[in-house]
């Protein structure tokens, strides 16, 4: 509850019983909020008219019941209930709602309308308002990015502005009838009696139905050529013919909005792109900024809260897991994931009338994996963490309303079904665990059957490119079999690993290559896993049934090994790390850095403000030790003093083996995390090794060491990436091919990719390590190597992007900083001054840097565009060039055609104004061609940002 809410709730309660109201002091005492803060909130509330104050001293406050109508509006803000301030909320969201309908802007409350969707919204408005009939629009965006939602907003905007005369947002998915062009055309344009068999009457099509309104054609790239032709004709002339007619006599006034997931460059779309003047590109979920992602999450959760009329409480890690669980399906996927976990939470919190709680431990594995997905993107995680509070509470909010109809909406009320079913089962006398189990299966089934029909089939899209659909389908069958009949746990990466495996051995068999032999190693390894061997046999049968040829027995063994490898996370725990340091955030910031760098989960922080007593600290550290312990002991890293004597006390208190090292530094935490990341590591070894650790680079020794380093580098072992699959020949080869391509594409020539089989993995790796330095591993199983591991789905889904980041980091430890530097403080006015001095001859950098820095500021303010510091420096350098050209009378020239074009650009007047300021300051008047180049610089930058965000 926010401060404001606390105060309001208290006031409301009190005003019922006491008519004269309450004083600031009373409120402060009752709510525990500082008096000054109470006073500030009260004043604000009085201004808003939500409460009234009495005359005379002391002032008494009462709730203003007369303001009932406004109440809904004011409640909007506190409804986004962070434990702390509601800083994410979009304060103005509802401001306009009560205003005159014509002034309402439905885009206003769309998340991102001021940020990542700003351009898109402007485009949409322009398209709709363009006289006389508006412009037809194509919306392009990946699956689930909100194309239908956006089109719907456009429709409401058009309706509010009375651009369209008729209520009615007609939608049509061209993919639905793509296999039958005739049927599709008849749906769109209608037909006359006798046009084809079964056309017994005249019938109007959707175009006629949408007359005076808006028609939304989804997946328009699936429209057959003849349909495109007719649509284009209709766009140009407003007339069309029904099927079976020869003349285009029918007229309809329809706003057309198209949508597609297709790349606009694709041949399918090119005709459209040419013919449709406005193309709106929606960003994918991952291109949205952290703040928007969070707002989207809140909005979607609010929809669920509205449905169940309960608060939804969730912790930070659940928020992160949910956001991270969005892999390919964007907002749509987020929506369905939220529905899934809310359904689950609803079930688990059935006894609680007011609230449902979403617990991380109860999330389904694929959503849990979201947390590690997110952890892979350090920057994003950092941005998010800054916005997150430990707990988030979402309340039902009528203003946010029920969702618009879209294809991600279930056609029935899932919660009702859950409630009814639970009641029924209870009557039958089932216990709670059984009921939960039963219904969870049900929920999964509902959601699955629903989403499978449509949108979310694209999980394996990228896999599709490397493995035949047939094999993917077969793998899914296998997965189903294992899950349902064998009750064998299967994780997210199963589809990837298994289908790649099957694909490669099927190819092998079909190409008539010799059978793989069964080595004694293989047999002895499988011998330890009889259960997997049995299941492998079932899988083998299934594949044989499918392909109608015998699968050699050796494959069964490899299959068993694959299954062993894919089994859920290893059970042996890692050594835990607890960092405890004095200061409000010293420990937690060290831990944050390290967990972001290495994405490890075995590390916890304990901050000790200076005034904290040792007793409290001991208890606090003890509880952290307990929480992080995985039965393999805990390493305590402390900054100084009394803390280093805690070991024995902690062991006594927690029954966990604890070892303490003092003088903690970030480098040491990093090293500890790296060492403990190995499952095999034990506390004593790590402790011993760490005591000898004295930093990655000691400044004292640095100088003399440098020379040796140079020499060492030349005979350093070559770097290698290990790719692992059960045979070392199938999937691993594929991975190698993919990685080789990525490496070459990134101009990395000094890393070799080596394939390894799970059989004898340890020995093979040991051998490789003699000649190579292993920098990363990937594949079906995580080997015990002190190098980062990239899972198969991350590798294939991210198209290897994540790998590039990793590799760059390995290669020069600086890639990470580069991103951060973009906006960083380093790129300052002083820096620009330095470069000005370096590259220009005549201008005075000391004097000019300030002026040009302000020039940037001026434009930034006027254009309301975000300018990165790096771009500012580019602009400053360009401007310095322009000034020097002016001074040396060598200004650029541009042909008249371009000049007249640039005058219509949005940036043109702003640049002109900025130049006017320059003129006043320096008495320098830049020519129009120079203005042209400045505007072009902005255009290029914009184009780049646009392409980046697509």
């Amino acid at each position: 509850m926010t401060r404001r809410e606390k105060i309001l709730t208290y006031l409301e309660k009190r005003t019922f019983s006491m008519s004269e109201g309450v004083t600031t002091n009373e409120i402060s005492e009752a709510t525990g909020v500082l008096r000054s803060n109470v006073s500030r909130e009260l004043n604000q509330l009085v201004r808003e008219g939500r409460i009234k104050k009495t005359n005379g001293r002391p002032v008494h406050y009462v709730v203003n019941h007369a303001a009932g109508k406004r109440k809904g509006k004011m409640q909007q803000k506190p409804n986004i209930g962070f434990a702390g301030d509601a800083r994410i909320s979009d304060q103005n969201i509802e401001e306009n709602y009560t205003a005159n309908r014509n002034e309402v802007d439905v885009f206003e409350n769309m998340i991102g309308s001021r940020d990542s969707l700003r351009n898109q919204v402007e485009q949409a408005k322009a398209a709709l308002l363009y006289p006389p009939h508006g412009l037809n629009t194509l919306i392009i965006g990946p699956t689930g990015s909100g194309k239908t939602y956006f089109a719907n907003k456009m429709y409401h905007f058009a309706l509010d502005r009375e651009i369209i005369s008729k209520k009615g947002f007609t939608t049509f998915n061209c993919a639905d009838y793509a296999h039958n062009p005739q049927l599709l055309m008849s749906h769109l344009f209608g037909y006359v009696k006798g046009a084809f068999t079964g056309a017994n009457d005249n019938k109007d099509g959707l175009i006629q139905e949408a007359d005076g309104g808006m028609l939304f054609l989804d997946e328009v790239h699936r429209l057959p050529p003849e349909g495109q032709e007719m649509i284009f004709y209709f766009m140009d002339h407003g007339t069309y013919s029904r099927l079976g007619e020869t003349t285009k006599v029918h007229h309809a006034d329809v706003r057309l909005v198209y949508a597609t997931t297709e790349d606009p460059e694709s041949s399918l779309l090119q005709t459209f792109v040419r013919r449709i003047p406005i193309i709106i590109q929606l960003p994918g979920f991952n291109q949205r900024n952290a703040r928007e992602k969070l707002q989207l999450l809140e909005q979607l959760l609010t929809l669920e809260a509205n449905r169940i009329h309960k608060n939804i409480r969730l912790s930070e890690d659940v928020v992160q897991a949910l956001l991270g669980s969005v892999t390919y399906g964007n907002v749509g996927q987020l929506k369905s994931n939220i529905q899934l976990v809310c359904a689950q939470g609803f079930l688990n919190s059935m006894h609680n009338k007011n609230e449902i709680t979403l617990l991380f431990s109860q999330l389904p594995p694929n959503i849990k994996d979201g947390l590690s997905n997110l952890a892979n993107n350090r920057q994003e995680l950092g941005n998010l963490s800054r916005l997150l509070e430990p707990t988030m509470v979402i309340k039902p909010d009528a203003k946010r309303g029920l969702p618009d109809i879209d294809s991600y909406e279930l056609p029935y009320n899932l919660y009702e079904i859950i409630g009814d079913k639970a009641a029924l089962l209870k009557e039958e006398g089932l216990d709670q665990a059984a009921i939960n189990n039963f219904i969870m299966t049900d929920i999964n089934l509902h959601l699955k059957s629903f989403y499978h029909q449509g949108k979310l089939e694209k999980t394996v899209n990228s896999l599709n490119e490397i493995v035949d659909q047939e094999i993917i389908d077969l793998t899914k069958q296998i997965q189903q079999l294992l899950q349902e009949r064998e009750n064998y746990p299967v994780r997210d990466n199963f589809i990837y690993a298994m289908s790649l495996h099957i694909s490669s051995f099927i190819k092998r068999i079909q190409s008539g290559k010799p059978l793989r032999t069964i080595s004694s190693d293989l047999i002895s390894m499988v011998h330890d896993y009889p259960a997997e061997l049995k299941i492998a046999e079932r899988v083998k049968d299934l594949i044989e049934d499918h392909y109608h040829f015998p699968i050699p027995e050796s494959e069964m063994y490899y299959m068993a090994i694959l299954l062993v490898s894919l089994k859920s996370e290893p059970k042996t725990g890692k050594v835990g790390i607890v960092v405890a340091a004095h200061g409000n955030s010293t420990a937690s910031s060290m831990v944050q850095v390290v967990s972001q760098l290495l994405s490890v989960d075995n590390i916890a922080a304990y901050d000790m403000p200076l005034e904290m007593s040792p007793k409290v600290a001991l208890d606090g550290i003890a509880s952290q030790v307990k929480s992080i312990d995985q039965d393999n002991g805990v390493l305590l890293l402390v900054d100084m003093g009394s803390l280093s004597t805690f070991s024995s006390k902690l062991t006594e208190k927690t029954n966990v083996h604890v070892k303490t090292i003092d003088m903690v530094t970030t480098a040491m935490v990093l090293e500890a995390a790296r060492k403990t990341a190995l499952i095999d590591s034990d506390l004593e070894t790590v402790y011993r090794e760490l005591r000898e650790f004295n930093g990655y680079s000691r400044t004292i020794e640095r100088v003399q060491k440098k020379k040796n380093d140079v020499q060492k580098r030349s005979n350093q072992r070559q770097k290698a990436i290990i790719a692992i699959c059960s045979t070392g020949e199938g999937t691993a080869r594929r991975i190698k091919d993919l990685l080789d391509k990525i490496l070459v594409d990134n101009l990395i020539d000094d890393i070799t990719v080596i394939t390894v089989s799970v059989v004898n993995m340890k020995e093979q790796i040991a051998e490789i390590q003699q000649n190579y330095q292993i920098v990363a591993t990937t594949g079906v199983v995580k080997p015990q190597v002190a190098a980062p591991f990239v899972s198969l789905e991350n590798l294939f889904q991210g198209g290897g992007e994540s790998f590039v980041g990793l590799i760059e980091e390995i290669n020069n430890h600086t890639a990470r900083e580069t991103e951060a530097l973009e906006q960083s403080e380093l790129l300052t006015e002083e820096m620009s001054q330095k470069y000005l001095g370096q590259y220009f001859t005549f201008i005075n950098p000391v004097k000019i840097a300030k002026i040009l820095w302000n020039y940037c500021g001026f434009i930034q303010q006027r254009s309301k565009a975000k300018m990165s510091n790096a771009f500012k420096i580019s602009l400053i350098m360009h401007m310095a060039g322009a000034l020097e050209r002016y001074l040396t009378r060598s200004e650029m020239s541009v042909d008249e055609q371009r000049l007249s074009r640039v005058r219509t650009e949005k940036m043109y007047p702003i640049v002109k104004q900025a130049n006017e300021v320059l003129h006043k300051t320096l008495n320098v008047n830049l020519s129009d061609p120079e203005v042209y180049f400045i505007v072009e610089l902005f255009n290029t930058e914009k184009e780049k940002n646009d392409t980046q965000s697509n």
Binding site: D749, E817, T818, A870, S874, H878, F933, L937, T940, D946
Partner: protein, 165 residues
């Protein structure tokens, strides 16, 4: 097969705004390679350079040594790069390392206290002159153009006129 180097350009500012965009479009490159040991080490400059890369094309910063290595490695023969270097000395190192070109484009070389202005955009010092001489002796053209549609001037002529060679 080695990579097809579309342009070797000397420009103190390496990648900058419209100039690079113009070249990249005009000569159809699929990559921009900034070759400079100094920039490879300088995070700030690298950031600025990558920032200034024209849309739709990738840029990498590599050292002189790595550039030579990549050039001779057939895995990278798919590259049709525009190579940008800061000065004539780096350009010469590349050609000495086996990189084959028949002309060097010179855009701008910033003035500093060791240099003298030869044209309005090009300043040279002794090392630069020595390098240009080296190119000239090997029949490599010294093509002065800011952007691709400028008319080409021969730097050798300007150097001779100034009495520098």
């Amino acid at each position: 097969m080695t990579m097809d180097i579309r342009l070797l350009r000397i420009d103190s500012r390496l990648i900058h705004g419209q100039v690079t965009t113009n070249w990249a479009k005009a000569i159809k490159v699929n990559r921009i390679l900034v070759v400079s040991d100094r920039v490879a080490k300088d995070l700030t400059r690298r950031t600025l350079i990558i920032q200034a890369t024209p849309p739709g094309i990738r840029a990498n910063v590599v050292t002189v040594e790595k550039m030579i290595r990549l050039y001779h490695d057939p895995r990278f023969s798919f590259l049709k790069p525009m190579i940008l270097v800061e000065d004539a000395v780096d350009a010469r190192c590349l050609v000495e390392g086996g990189v084959r070109i028949d002309s060097v484009n010179i855009g701008a070389i910033s003035f500093d206290t060791t240099r003298v202005m030869v044209t309005d955009a090009i300043a040279v010092n002794e090392d630069d002159v020595a390098a240009f001489k080296w190119f000239h002796e090997r029949g490599i053209k010294l093509d002065v153009r800011k952007v691709s549609n400028d008319s080409s001037k021969n730097l050798w002529k300007s150097l001779s006129e100034k009495g520098l060679v």
